[in-house]
């Protein structure tokens, strides 16, 4: 089971901006890595564009699962994982990351932000730590009680 990317975006009106992202493409063939990363950036943005404010969803794209959480205030997070990685842990991670991000980066900077201008460095650490869901979040079963009814599995 594997996490491939973790991104924070802002769902503005009309456009979606990428604020910050972390990628782990180490399991891909060396010469595929940059195109895989591009694909993930593009897909994350697209998914947020198509999601409503205040929603969570898991979208299947090729052999990957993209878990997206768009908050009511427009801040959004996307985790791209494989189909073995537990869904609940992804949403736990997204909750945590967006919460921390919103406390560290001022709201004024969101609509106009970009990876170059935003200073939030924790994404790489989270992506790495959560590669093993049991190490990262031993209480995952408890978290299942929250919000699970809102998760929609969209298979394409």
């Amino acid at each position: 089971m594997r996490l491939y990317s973790l991104s924070v975006l802002y769902k503005g009106d009309p456009k979606v901006h990428l604020l910050k992202a972390a990628y782990d493409v180490s399991t891909f063939n060396f010469f595929q890595r940059s195109s895989v990363q591009e694909f993930m950036t593009f897909t994350s943005q697209l998914i947020v564009e198509r999601s409503e404010l205040g929603s969570r969803a898991s979208v299947k794209e090729q052999e990957y699962l993209c878990h997206v959480y768009v908050r009511n205030d427009g801040l959004a997070g996307v985790v791209i994982a494989d189909n073995e990685y537990p869904q609940r842990v992804c949403f736990t991670l997204l909750d945590k990351v967006l919460d921390e991000f919103s406390r560290q980066v001022s709201k004024i900077d969101w609509p106009s932000g970009s990876p170059a201008t935003i200073s939030y460095a924790a994404l790489d650490g989270y992506l790495s730590k959560y590669q093993n869901p049991r190490d990262a979040d031993p209480m995952t079963r408890v978290q299942a009680e929250l919000d699970e009814t809102k998760i929609i599995l969209v298979r394409r």
Binding site: M1, N29, F30, F31, E84, N132, P133, R134, A144
Partner: protein, 375 residues
């Protein structure tokens, strides 16, 4: 240490299509159609006397690729047999090929051929004294086995449920690793983390089943050996033989104690993974299989090993021992390790899970338990 194809439909610059970055070799795709005829022509010149190669096949790139691949492997076999190519170098090239084509059956088949050559080479008598020869070949084989385990592991990681990689791994253990208890237990512990991180990999779990079944088979064999030694002792009592029988008894005792423990640990692993990662059919199947194996294993019943020997002493024939084992197999399983625990587990899962797939698997598992175990 890695090879790959770089999608690049046209040559934009007048430069070589070979790209080398950080010890990884890439080939730009535009050059492939020029490369193939060139390579093919070279091979043709080399094997001039073969007439069956005609122009149509040259034009058809698909046949071309297949031909070159088979030819390539054929040539390499010849080079190894003639002593020109070192088999270890060929294994390294194979490993490289597997980074791009982790499933390729031809690569795995060729790999087994090369390993067989190495085994034969290793067992050839040498002019060196027995003392000197003693250490090196064993160590060499051990290193080769370890390397094969790594290659299989990497290939298994590059492609989900890579049956070819895992069956190669089994083959290596059977032909190079001698399936000793130590090797089997080592493999069980070294693959534990891997399967925990690849919970839908059927082939990975199937490998663990193979290890457990081999362990069970091993225990029965060693018990037979112990019992046969006892028979020898009774007929020809001598201190030396008793000592060796004693040592064997210690070994067998160790193995028979480990086996129920192993099976129980495996079931625990299943339970833990099913709980943490709901909705993976592989884990439920693995649970089925493990319980199945434990039910048929002679060592997991309540009766200690000593009774087997007593039973044998009474009947004094191998036949008698076999009958004893059969009787033990039919004995009821201990409560702490068997259906009761499983029913409790299923009930817990059904009452707490929200995953539709997980509920379906749990229900099916319960049905299987009822029909199979008849309890």
């Amino acid at each position: 240490d890695e090879i790959g194809l770089i999608p690049c439909p046209e040559a934009r610059y007048n430069r070589s299509p070979i790209v080398l970055i950080e010890n990884k070799l890439g080939v730009e795709s535009w050059c492939v159609k020029f490369l193939l005829p060139y390579v093919h022509n070279k091979l043709l010149l080399y094997r001039e006397r073969k007439q069956w190669l005609n122009k149509d096949e040259l034009i058809d790139i698909t046949l071309h690729l297949l031909f070159i691949q088979i030819y390539f492997i054929f040539c390499r076999k010849e080079l190894i047999l003639s002593g020109t190519l070192n088999p270890l170098k060929d294994l390294h090239l194979g490993k490289l090929a597997l980074t791009k084509f982790p499933k390729s059956p031809e690569t795995w088949i060729h790999r087994r051929w090369v390993l067989q050559q190495l085994i034969q080479e290793n067992s050839l008598p040498s002019p060196v004294t027995k003392g000197n020869l003693g250490a090196a070949p064993v160590q060499r084989i051990h290193r080769i086995v370890q390397e094969e385990m790594n290659v299989c592991s990497e290939a298994a990681g590059r492609y989900p449920s890579n049956y070819n990689a895992w069956s190669h791994r089994i083959w290596v253990l059977q032909h190079l690793g001698k399936l000793t208890v130590k090797v089997l237990l080592d493999e069980l512990s070294s693959t534990k983390y891997w399967v925990s991180m690849h919970v839908s990999d059927h082939s990975g779990f199937h490998y663990r089943q193979f290890l457990l079944k081999s362990l069970i088979g091993r225990t029965v064999t060693d018990s037979n050996v112990l019992v046969q030694n006892q028979m020898v002792n009774e007929q020809n009592p001598s201190l030396q033989k008793e000592e060796s029988a004693g040592a064997e008894a210690a070994c067998v005792k160790e193995q028979s104690v480990d086996l129920p423990c192993c099976l129980e640990k495996e079931l625990e692993l299943c339970t833990e993974l099913i709980d943490t990662y709901p909705g993976h059919e592989t884990l439920w199947c693995h649970s089925d299989e493990t319980l199945n194996n434990s039910h048929h294993s002679p060592a997991t019943s309540n009766v200690p090993q000593a009774m087997d020997v007593d039973g044998f002493n009474e009947s004094r024939s191998k036949q008698g021992y076999t009958q004893e084992t059969k009787r033990l197999k039919r004995a009821p399983l201990q409560d702490s390790f068997g259906p009761q625990m499983e029913y409790q587990f299923i009930d817990k899962v059904l009452s707490t899970c929200r995953d539709a797939d997980q509920a379906r698997f749990a229900t099916a598992y319960r049905k299987w338990l009822v029909t199979f175990l008849g309890q």
